[in-house]
């Protein structure tokens, strides 16, 4: 069974990869990708059931934080009922989503700003080295050079130093990191394609 899974995975991966290079295979590639989307949708249903089970167990065992699990289960149940009866495009359903999910995620985003500021302040206490000093100085400099200052802009900072830091130092570093990430992705993909790594199970 494991061998069949490996053969199927490698063949499917090869078809999808080669479909990008040889138009002859693009039809088969599209079919395989369509199946994948259907399977991913099914996985979401299974994943939600798993989420319900995890939180239901937390509630029945009265574990730490089980109050939040009750809230999650209630919210999930109410949203599910509304979604089934009204449909996802109904204005009331849209209102439910926009009035709860969007503000909650915006709140987390706002918290993130404070968290990052606090993390920046603590950075030197945790990691006292040259790179941390450069990191903090660059962050402070970029904030200072981008902000609207009460006495107007400083031409040297805004027009010369900031663009140079942004477009030469930062862009060069970012491209270097992204090239590394792309090479890592390529070799990880190839290892899976050759069956050396099998994230779909197997001993």
């Amino acid at each position: 069974m494991r061998t069949v899974a490996v053969i199927l995975a490698v063949l499917t991966g090869l078809i999808v990869l080669l479909g990008y290079f040889f138009p002859v295979l693009s039809g088969v590639q599209t079919v395989v990708l369509s199946w994948t989307i259907i399977l991913a949708g099914t996985a979401t249903v299974v994943g939600v059931f798993s989420l319900i089970l995890v939180h239901f167990n937390k509630v029945t065992r009265r574990e730490k934080g089980s109050v939040y699990s009750v809230l999650l289960l209630m919210a999930l149940f109410v949203t599910f009922i509304f979604g089934i009866t009204l449909g996802p495009d109904d204005p009331n359903m849209q209102l439910l989503v926009n009035a709860i999910i969007v503000p909650v995620e915006s709140t987390l985003m706002a918290l993130l700003a404070v968290t990052l500021l606090y993390a920046g302040v603590r950075l030197l206490r945790r990691r006292t080295d040259l790179m941390s000093v450069i990191f903090l100085l660059t962050a402070a400099f970029m904030l200072f050079a981008s902000a609207t200052l009460p006495f107007g802009e400083i031409s040297l900072l805004n027009n010369w130093i900031r663009p140079w830091v942004q477009q030469v130092l930062a862009l060069g570093g970012a491209r270097g990191i992204l090239i590394g990430v792309a090479l890592g992705t390529l070799t990880t993909g190839l290892r899976i394609l050759f069956g050396a790594d099998r994230p779909y199970g197997g001993k």
Partner: protein, 245 residues
Amino acid sequence: MNLIALGIVSFSGILLLAFSLIKRKSPPKFRIIPALTRLYRAIGLSVEDGTRVFIHLGPMSLLTPRGGAPLAGLGMLRHLTERTSLSDRPPIAAAGEASLALLAQDTLEAGYEAAGAGEFYQPLSGRLIGLTPFSSAAGAMSIIRDEDISASILIGHFGPEAALMAEAAERENTFLLGASDDLSSQAALYASAQEVLIGEELYAAGAYLGATASHAASITVQDILRWLIILGLLAGAALKLFGMI
């Protein structure tokens, strides 16, 4: 353009196969990455303490071009599971995307079986914790706070919301290693996480925890390709300087 891409993929594949065969004969040697050394120690401590290890694979679908990072995370999860499967408390794997959560469950099960501890596997230790980046971050924060976690690993594609999880780990005074393929997340983790992996170090993590010939070969191939790119960039700059292109 397609032919160049095909050439690069084929060349990389041939190199990977060749080096996998060569590396089988000699044990791999890697440079030291301090973050992974500390992770190794934190995992050992968690097994001794009877606390849990938590690994979050991120909210990114495997169907996108950013799917490489979660795949590297699954490789790391496999090694971690084998190392911690005999602990009193099983590791928890979470994802913010359903198919990734299913793969995490499967990987956990495979890790337990490989360690000869299949009977200890608990299906619910692989979880879906949210379907958006921020909801999965919120889910991860509650796991870090409530489930007796002593070491957390964020490995996959995260945005700057990774800083919220790092902050949660800091509040619980537990170890957190962050590894993301996203630049804004790397910056946020550099400031907020105890340990961070930058750039391609993410893809080397699996090799450091349980090196096989193919892992060692893939790191060598990455190095070779990186040098080729550097030479190409220098050659391009020189040709441009002399007005030849």
